[in-house]
Symmetry: C2
Subunit: 335 residues, 2 copies
Amino acid sequence: MKNKNISIKDIAKRANVSTASVSRVISNKPGVGKETKKRIEDIMVELDYKPNINARSLVKKNTGNIGVIVPGGSKAIQNAFFLTIIEGISRIVDQTEYNLIVSFTTKQHKKLLDTNIVDGILVFAPRKNEIDLNWLSNLKIPTVIIGSFIENSTFDCVSADEKSGVKMSVESLYQNNHRHVALLNGPSTSYQSQIYELGYKTIVEELEIPSYVLELEEFDIKGQESLVIEFLNKNKNITGIVCSSDNIALGVMNIAKEIGLTIPNQLSIIGSDNTPITSMVSPKISTTNVDLKQMGETAVGRLLTKLNSNVQDEYNFNCIFPMDYIERETTTFLK
Amino acid sequence: MKNKNISIKDIAKRANVSTASVSRVISNKPGVGKETKKRIEDIMVELDYKPNINARSLVKKNTGNIGVIVPGGSKAIQNAFFLTIIEGISRIVDQTEYNLIVSFTTKQHKKLLDTNIVDGILVFAPRKNEIDLNWLSNLKIPTVIIGSFIENSTFDCVSADEKSGVKMSVESLYQNNHRHVALLNGPSTSYQSQIYELGYKTIVEELEIPSYVLELEEFDIKGQESLVIEFLNKNKNITGIVCSSDNIALGVMNIAKEIGLTIPNQLSIIGSDNTPITSMVSPKISTTNVDLKQMGETAVGRLLTKLNSNVQDEYNFNCIFPMDYIERETTTFLK
DNA sequence: TTGTAGGCGTTATCAT
DNA sequence: ATGATAACGCCTACAA
């Protein structure tokens, strides 16, 4: 069933050298004659030799894998926010010898982390109920958190400045004469949501306008339409909504249409993260933007240096990407 | 930096038994006294023992990983079609000991396949220019192809019946009085596109209506807007469009609006695969539907049986999932 | 420059 | 029911 695996021994025998020499050639190490090196290499391609990763890992005590932990059960798979970041990650990992093990479910997370199959991990905006950060920290495995900033922790973080993101959104609405601006937020189990809420509360207080917050179960509104409708009906004076994801914004748009609110005239809506759909729908969604790919790249970059420098540097890497507001068609001046 | 890894030896010593016994309890094999078993287990948790996967793999000659090959460069990452299938896959893999290694880029594909780090692979609708199927076949690694049916090959395939999908779409338009129905297709390097084209040609011929085909570079229209506009302008009599993906349909909707065509009255549009956005936008997109999660589940299922039965069964697994047409708001009767 | 040999952590065979 | 011990394929001192 499997190819009879040819090993370092086979090619050593064939080349009349020791396995040591072959190993040297494989690892591109010095100490082998130009002649023999050539001979060995030829035989390697002739026999289509492929090193056994497991054996190598066994002695080198590494795995060659980088794990990516995606939260939110399988729902998040469809989340463009994560996927764009993964694109950035892929781009960098491509240039290395590492493989990417992506885990989408809680069970897989456990398996991945418990089983020592990765050298380092990238954790996407963790949820409190899914991953115990203390436990994670005790694992002593190099980790970078992407997409949310964990306060008072020793974790390296790469995140978007969502706090000022919401702030800009609310402010732009305010400048457009809106005085009743709501926040449609993701679940509070997400550290991301906490930032959003914090940012919202802060600016709302600063502007001295009332606070309206609706917390959803996810970063989209599927299955919670009635909740949103109820919220909108209960707070008829709301004229602007800031959402903690573009998907939520999209959902609200549809609900608004259904209950007869025109966008943006009767209701202005702002999303978050500038995912592709925002400009694929009509009206195009106003949103906040951050370079997600770059975020991904930065995160793996950091992880790779942690992996390559055995020295555990003590300083805490914490990179916060700036966001900017993109005005499109779901927002307007309130008459 | 790393935990001093405690091994089977350590726990053997501590328990005053041989490594063999420890190994037996780890693998839940018979031949170890109830007493000693208990003792060993206790020590294992006490020392927080975790088996070394590499060592195990080395002797067992497997890796415990399943690879997933996603085509289309990193663009496909955002493709809900694939992602939904991955959801199905995850659901099954969750119940096993396997890990999922997802590869999004051509380079990673190579690495993954060349390096023997997976026991089996799931290949998503391959592109001719990205993966040489002959080469793949020579790898002798258990493989299941998802999302496209490869004719005249020995590959196991799990795919949607897209041929009858397009057929239904065109027919429904025809029944609604449309006589000029176009196909907006993905790249011909995709086997999937070939099926779409085949289905389209067939039904168009059967109905004796003219054929209009536009081949795009991807399964969405980003960056090719002008191409589509040109196509539409050149063929003014087209009143209905069948797209080989929902993303294409969405793109066409926007273009139509821009050039002043109302949907569905002046132009009816049908997508493909019933991805979530279709019902998140307005008007809601008419499309064809297939149980993608189930497709994913079936595919891994098949792969797992291949993996578990050393017997290479000779018959060719070929599962084609039925599609059905979902009428929504982007299609109407042509007056 | 090249070779010898021990060890990485498991599993599995064969004794006991 | 248990224990030695030889693999598994590779790397790496240490010798030569």
